[in-house]
């Protein structure tokens, strides 16, 4: 083999290797998917989440009773297996009966059915929080980072001020406002009336009449987008200087095309990761709001509301608070495992960092 031949072969090999590498880049999502399903904790989390979603969708078919249906003669009716595993001496004062698998609550409503319907509160809250964070955050972040100037300045000052405001206290105030001004507004033509109508429609879709879900979505959404906006803006600022963006400008691509075809695919990974990692935060926000009485309206079964109701009678009926607490913990674990797995899969450099 002559030197020339050897050089040619070397060059060809290098080109092929480069091609393979390019293929790999194009298959980022396939690659990430492979890494994700190799992660057992993430896989378990994902499976549980799918089960929870199915439970929420088919709550009407799975749940033995309706969440609001109760007989006050059957209040605190508890099956024997629950009595036997609870601390204290429940058998001395509790009504024992096996009508309900987990027992009945203080109004004689089936705890299990309420837990199942509760997924219809928590999961949509997580989803809507993530969606608002993603959509509004990306739009604001893109405009701010790409165009810069006065728009950027105004948007970022708003984010700065909102950041200084303790998030939870802001949501509490918003909820107090929504619930008293919008809920039940009956005068057509006002903004409050429109909001109330939309809210009723949302509750109708979720099958939770009178739950007030829209207001929770709004309260969480108003504060959820800021982190994403900042992250997207930062990423775009560094990306804007890259040669390939310049090149696409040069071949005559307009701003819209540059943003959608060239910028978004490059920043979407870390943003999806951040948003997924925040889903448990949104779910917890609703739990917290319902716990302090500013979330869903009774009799809508939110896990937070059930924990709050149950903790009032924790001495005598610990099972009332135990079951909603457990299902909430399982949900949190699942989302955290999946979020961590997604982060490791999409951005392996971040592995182990928090």
């Amino acid at each position: 083999m002559t030197t020339q031949e050897r050089a040619v072969r070397k060059l060809t090999e290098a080109t092929v290797a480069e091609g393979e590498r390019a293929q790999k880049v194009a298959n980022l999502w396939v690659d990430a998917w492979r890494r994700l399903i190799r992660n057992r904790a993430a896989l378990l989390g994902g499976t549980i989440i799918i089960l929870l979603v199915l439970m929420a969708i088919f709550a009407g078919q799975i749940a033995p009773y309706h969440y609001a249906q109760g007989d006050s003669n059957e209040n605190y009716l508890t099956p024997r297996w629950v009595v036997s595993i609870m601390p204290g001496h429940m058998e001395r004062y509790v009504k024992i009966g096996s009508k309900f698998l987990f027992g009945a609550d203080y109004l004689g409503r089936d705890l299990l059915s309420r837990l199942i319907y509760g997924a219809r509160v928590s999961l949509p809250v997580g989803l809507m929080g993530a969606l608002t964070a993603l959509v509004i955050g990306l739009v604001c972040g893109c405009i701010s980072g790409y165009y810069g100037g006065a728009v950027d300045n105004v948007l970022m000052r708003i984010v700065d001020i909102m950041y200084a405001f303790p998030t939870m206290l802001l949501i509490i105030l918003l909820m107090a406002f929504f619930k008293t001004s919008f809920a039940g507004a009956a005068k057509p033509g006002t903004a409050a009336y429109t909001f109330n109508q939309i809210n009723n429609a949302v509750d109708g879709i979720l099958g939770l009449h009178g739950g007030g879900m829209l207001f929770i979505f709004m309260g969480i959404g108003i504060t959820a987008w800021m982190g994403t906006a900042r992250l997207a803006r930062g990423q775009i600022l560094s990306l804007k200087q890259k040669e390939f963006i310049e090149a696409s400008h040069m071949i005559g691509a307009n701003d819209m095309r540059v943003i959608i075809r060239h910028i978004l695919p490059n920043i979407i990974g870390p943003i999806v990761v951040t948003v997924t990692l925040n889903v448990p935060v949104y779910i917890l926000t609703e739990v917290f709001l319902s716990f302090i009485g500013l979330g869903v309206d009774p009799p809508t079964p939110s896990w937070g509301l059930m924990i709050s109701e149950g903790s009032r009678s924790i001495r005598s009926y610990p099972n009332q608070v135990l079951f909603p607490a457990l299902i909430l913990a399982i949900t949190m674990f699942s989302f955290n495992f999946l979020g961590d797995g997604l982060r490791d899969a999409l951005d392996p450099r971040m592995k182990g960092a928090s």
């Binding site: 001020i161 406002f177 924790i314």
Partner: protein, 315 residues
């Protein structure tokens, strides 16, 4: 540095004003006044009450009265800028300041105990996990971290009561005042934050111990203990310091939940009842107080940041 602090304090003024305006506007846009009862009060009495509290004034005037720029027409009340957070509509004799004096120390003690647990548990766990990476300690530390992140205080509180009070009888179920009554609420409140701190400490410690200057310190012949404590830990603590701001915020909102579960007579429980009773000055005062606290603690964290890391210079 001095100029930086002054600029930060100046920036806090518009922020706090913004917070006060938003809080005030939102609590006053709420329909139905504080004197709406199921059995309605006579109109003259409501008019008199409104006049006494200055609620018959236009909203902007009520705001300036509240802040202390102008004087309430009945001349009864001073403003926030004079250190007076207004009357409580629910009680004729107690002002918001009285409520703060009575209940804030309880919440502060709970929050402080939780902070001690968060840092005291989180930092050592994180450091141990990093130093003995991939050992038993590492797995224990990370298991605690995942548990703490995934199990919120609203779950931990009831679980602790069921396990440690009802089943094992180690601690009293609820109440406040004795040391043994403080243990469960403080741990329930602090564990989540300690998990976040442990995770962050581990990650930053792992990064720091691979730095060149650590190798240099070892090459000088310093003992491992001094290398770790004096050189590594100090720098590893920098990212941890940044998380303290959000930690304060998490503890503040956490007290609202934990106080309810453990029947602790803190400000949080009072705050929640005030929202439902539309006792605006209490709501407003609590939000403002917490906002001021959070804004100042964020400033303190940023300053501490500069002291920890000489590379950071604010200008």
């Amino acid at each position: 540095m001095g100029r930086y602090i002054i600029r930060r304090i100046l920036w806090m003024i518009p922020v706090l004003f913004f917070i006060s305006i938003v809080t005030f506007a939102m609590s006053h846009m709420v329909p139905g006044g504080p004197f709406t009862r199921e059995k309605p009060l006579p109109a003259e009495i409501i008019a008199n009450l409104n006049k006494y509290y200055g609620l018959d004034q236009p909203t902007w005037k009520q705001y300036t009265d509240y802040m202390g720029f102008t004087r309430n027409p009945s001349g009864e009340f001073r403003g926030v800028l004079e250190g007076f957070f207004g009357p409580s509509y629910a009680s004729r004799t107690r002002t918001v300041n009285d409520i703060f004096v009575a209940h804030l120390p309880v919440s502060a003690a709970l929050g402080l105990a939780a902070l001690v647990i968060a840092v005291g548990l989180g930092v050592p766990l994180g450091v141990l996990a990093a130093l003995k990476q991939n050992s038993g300690w590492d797995y224990v530390g990370m298991a605690v971290a995942i548990f703490g992140v995934s199990v919120p205080n609203v779950v931990l509180g009831p679980l602790f009561i069921i396990i440690f009070a009802l089943a094992l009888h180690w601690f009293p179920v609820a109440g406040w005042g004795r040391l043994d009554q403080m243990v469960m609420p403080a741990v329930a409140l602090g564990l989540g934050s300690s998990a976040i701190i442990a995770r962050l400490t581990r990650a930053s410690m792992l990064q720091v111990i691979r730095e060149d200057y650590i190798r240099t310190a070892r090459a000088k012949g310093l003992s491992e203990r001094i290398v770790m404590v004096r050189h590594a830990l100090k720098n590893a603590f920098i990212p941890v310091a940044t998380i303290l701001g959000p930690t304060f915020a998490a503890l503040v909102t956490g007290t609202l939940v934990v106080e309810q579960i453990f029947a602790i007579p803190g400000l949080g429980k009072y705050f929640i009842t005030s929202i439902t009773n539309r006792d605006y000055p209490v709501v407003m005062g609590t939000v403002l107080l917490y906002a001021i606290f959070l804004v100042f603690s964020n400033l303190a964290v940023d300053i501490a940041y500069a002291f920890l890391d000489p590379r950071i210079r604010y200008s």
